[in-house]
Subunit: 323 residues, 2 copies
C-alpha cells in the first residue's frame, strides 16, 4: 500500500470507530426529548472531517508505539485507541457545538454548512442554541464514563481522565476557543468597540479560536494513553503548529475555494472584513507560513521519537487538503 | 440565636465562601479577553440566591456530621465544605449560563433579570451566547482542579470528583436541564409542532429544567464529602423534592409577586401561555403541593440520619421564600 493509501485506510478506520462511538455518546429518546436528539444528531453527523478526534486517536496510537508511556500493571487495560475514544468523542461534540453557535445570526450568520442548511435554519434559533449547549454538556458526561477495569487500572485511568477533563475544558472555555471567538466578534465590530488586529493579533486569536481545541486533541490523546511528561509536551508543540497550519489553510481555501467544494459561502470572511492570513500576507506568503508549520511539526515528532504511526501524515494532510 | 437567625448566619457565611471561590473560578485578562471576562462577571455576580451551591455545601456538611461517609486516612484531607466548593462553583456557573441563554430573544426574550438589564441587552446577543458557553466550559475546568493532597488522598478525591463531573454533566445536558428547556420551547410553540403539556408533563418538564440541577447540587455535595451509597440515594430523593418545591414556589411568585421584589417582568409566564402549577391547579392547591414536597423532604432527611446541619432549614426557606 502506498503511503497516501495507507493514510486513507487509517483515516477511514478511525472515522468508523469515532462515528460508532459518537452514536453511543448521545442520549436517545425518551431519555432526551426527541426534537433535541434530532437536532444534536443533525449537526453531529453532517459529514465533518473528524480532524480533532482523529488527532486524539493518532496521538494515543503514536504514544503506544513509542513506549514512552506509563504501563498499567493489570492485564485488563483497554488499548490506547480505546482509552482515547472518550476524549475523541468529547472533542468532536465540543467542536460541533461551537460550529452551531458560530453559525447563528448574532455571530457569523451562516445559512449553509457542509452543503446543508445550518441548524438554526432548520430548527429555529432557540433549539439550535440548546442543542449546542447539550452537546457541550454531553462532552463532559462522556469523559466521565470510565471503562470497566480493575481497581488498580481504574485509579490510573481516573487520574488521566481528570487531567483530560481539565485540558479539554480549558481549551474550550474563555482562555481558549470561546475567548478566540469573542476576539473575532470584536474584530468584526459585533461586540464592544471594534478592535483592529495586526498579524500577531490574528495569530493569537486563531491560537485560541481553532488552535486551542486542536492542540487539546493531540494532548488529550497522549494523556489518555499514559504518555510521559516530555512526550505530552512534544505533542502539545505539534498540536500548536498543526492548529495554526489548519487555520491558515482554512483562510486560503476560503479565498480560492469553490462553494461546491467546501460547502459554505465563499469569500464571506473578506465580506465581513474578517482578519485572515491571505488578507494580511497574501496567498503565497500564507502558503509558505503553513509549510513552515508543517516543517516544525515534523521536527517535533522526530525529536520526540513519535515517528511511528500517523501524526506526520495527518499533519501533511492538514496542509495539503483541498476542502 | 433563634433558628431563623442561625440559618441566616449559615447562609451568609456560605454565600461569602461561595462568592470568594467564584471570584477565583473565572479566568481574568489577559488569560481571557477583557470584554468576555466582564460579561461573564456581570451575570455571575448579579445578586443570585446561590441556592445550588448552598445546597452542595449543606449536603457535604450534613454528610460530614452524620459519619455515614468514607474516611480519608491521611491527615491532610480538606474539610467537607472545602471538598464541595468546586462542585458548588461549577453548579452556579452552569446555572448562570442557563439563565443567560434562557433570557435571549430566541428563548424567553427577557430584558430584565434580578432588576438589571439582561446580558444580551448590555453586551449584544453574540457575546452573551459566548459568555454563557464560557461559563459552562469553566464549570468543568473548576471540577478538574484538585486540591493539593497526598497521593492516597488524591486517588480517593479523583474518584469522587470524576463521579461529580458525571452527575453535573448529565444534570446539565440533554437528559436534564437542556432537555427540559427544549420541552419548554416546544410547549411555548417556539420549536417544532406546539406540544400541550398535562400536569404530569409539566412536572416532568420541571424535573429536568430546574429539578435536575438542584438535585445534582445536593448529590454532588454528598459525593464530594464521601457519603455512603444509601446516603447519596437519600440526598438524591431530598433534592428531587426540593427541586419540585422550588419550581412550584417560583410559579406562585410569578403570579402574585411584584416586579420590585423578584426583579423580573411579572405575569410573563401567563402571557406566554407557559404551563405553570397555578395555571394547572390554582394557587391554593399549588401551595399545598409545595408543602407536600417539604414534608417528604423532611422525612427523607430524618430517615437517613442527616438532621444535623442545614438541609431541612434550607428546604423550609425554599418553600417560604418571598423572592
Amino acid at each position: 500500500m502506498s503511503a497516501p493509501d495507507a493514510l486513507s485506510a487509517f483515516l477511514a478506520g478511525a472515522r468508523e470507530r469515532i462515528d460508532k462511538a459518537l452514536e453511543r455518546s448521545l442520549p436517545a429518546p425518551p431519555d432526551a426529548p426527541t426534537i433535541l436528539s434530532e437536532a444534536m444528531r443533525y449537526s453531529l453527523f453532517a459529514g465533518g472531517k473528524r480532524l480533532r478526534p482523529i488527532l486524539a486517536l493518532a496521538a494515543a496510537d503514536a504514544v503506544d508505539r513509542s513506549l514512552h508511556r506509563e504501563a498499567i500493571r493489570s492485564g485488563d487495560a483497554p488499548s490506547a485507541i480505546d482509552l482515547a475514544l472518550p476524549a475523541a468523542c468529547a472533542l468532536e461534540l465540543i467542536h460541533t457545538y461551537s460550529l452551531i453557535h458560530d453559525d447563528l445570526p448574532s455571530m457569523d450568520n451562516d445559512v449553509l454548512r457542509r452543503g446543508r442548511p445550518t441548524l438554526h435554519v432548520v430548527y429555529g434559533e432557540g433549539l439550535a442554541i440548546l442543542a449546542a449547549d447539550g452537546l457541550q454538556a454531553q462532552a463532559f458526561a462522556v469523559l466521565a464514563q470510565l471503562p470497566d477495569a480493575s481497581p488498580a487500572a481504574r485509579t490510573v485511568l481516573e487520574h488521566r481522565m481528570m487531567r483530560v477533563v481539565r485540558v479539554i475544558a480549558e481549551a474550550a472555555g474563555p482562555i481558549g476557543m470561546v475567548g478566540g471567538q469573542a476576539i473575532d466578534l470584536q474584530a468584526a465590530g459585533q461586540a464592544g468597540a471594534r478592535v483592529t488586529l495586526d498579524a500577531e493579533g490574528v495569530r493569537a486569536m486563531h491560537a485560541r479560536k481553532t488552535g486551542a481545541l486542536i492542540r487539546a486533541s493531540a494532548v488529550s490523546g497522549a494523556i489518555a494513553a499514559g504518555a510521559a511528561e516530555p512526550v505530552i509536551a512534544a505533542v502539545d508543540h505539534f498540536g500548536t503548529d498543526i492548529g495554526l497550519a489548519f487555520q491558515i489553510v482554512d483562510d486560503i481555501l476560503d479565498v480560492e475555494g469553490e462553494a461546491a467544494t467546501i460547502g459554505k459561502t465563499i469569500g464571506k470572511d473578506a465580506d465581513r472584513a474578517k482578519p485572515t492570513y491571505p488578507a494580511l500576507f497574501g496567498l503565497d506568503r500564507s502558503r509558505a507560513l503553513a509549510a513552515d508549520c508543517l516543517d516544525r511539526a515534523r521536527q517535533t515528532i522526530a525529536d520526540a521519537g513519535l515517528t511511528a504511526g500517523w501524526l506526520v501524515p495527518i499533519a501533511e494532510w492538514v496542509v495539503s487538503r483541498k476542502s
